[in-house]
Amino acid sequence: MTAGNVSKYVYTAIILFLLWIVLTSTFFWEEILAGLVLSAMVAAMGYSLFTDKGLGNFSPKRLAYFLVYIPVFLWDVIKANLDVAYRVLSPKMPIKPGIVEIHTDLKSDIAKLGLANSITLTPGTLTLDIDDDRLFIHWIYVRTTDIKEASEEIGGKFERYMKVIFE
């Protein structure tokens, strides 16, 4: 599903303008004006590459899922680090590494990127390669080599979020 050009353009300009506000961190009207003009110009050059859905990205459901996703994800990053700490510090080093294959139902590239990044930053897994719907995952402690079970265990939770946020 792709949106119209106007919607794409407005979305790109809004995101660029928000970035400008964060980076300058001032509220003088000259700065704001310069930011508005520049984001309008840059958006005109790059909107077709920047987004597929345009203003559709601001739908309440997507934003809500995104806001819920942030703490879920950060908690998993912390768990991943504790996991690494445990494996590194214990004298016996409880690792059983291997590369497994998992499948995903996600279609759009940006959703797959989000899934791959989430998998890399969560406990014990690292995305090695993606080819269409097949992901190759280096797993530090392989619990199952079955594609279905591994898909559910490694990516299942994130896939549900990505589906709503990006697809």
């Binding site: 912390i78 590194v88 590494p97 590369i99 497994v100 294959e101 791959a116 890399t120 080599t145």
Partner: protein, 120 residues
């Protein structure tokens, strides 16, 4: 104790936690057996380590906080991509997995793909 002092102490604590995880990551790179396991420790520890340090600095100097958050988000988005590129390049360059690894589904996939492309 006013609000800014409290923020400063929270910031110091976050910087300390970040440094601790960076140290654990370095230890992991030292102890783990092959490049893929080392990348695992490296990616996760550097991401949270840098995250803690940057947000900590942002809390110690609240006027920097928006920029600090932006930098942290960029690190969060790009760090996994670099580790993916490193792991993939190592594998294709022929660096072996640790000899006690239990399964390798990527090797057969690459050979299969090569055969398909050879036939064309």
């Amino acid at each position: 104790m006013n609000f800014y002092t409290v923020l400063e102490y929270i910031g110091m604590f976050l910087v300390f936690v970040g440094a601790l995880f960076l140290f654990l990551g370095a230890l992991g790179i030292f102890r783990l057996p092959d490049v893929y396991n080392r990348l695992q420790a490296g990616t996760k520890a550097t991401t949270l380590g840098a995250f803690g340090a940057i947000i900590g600095i942002g809390l110690m100097r609240p006027e920097w906080l928006p920029k600090a958050i932006l930098i942290a988000v960029f690190i969060l988005m790009t760090n996994p991509i670099s580790s993916h590129a490193l792991a993939r390049a190592s594998y294709r360059r022929g660096i072996k997995l640790w000899d006690r690894s239990v399964v390798d589904r990527y090797g057969p996939y690459l050979r299969e793909k090569e055969e398909k492309e050879g036939k064309r």
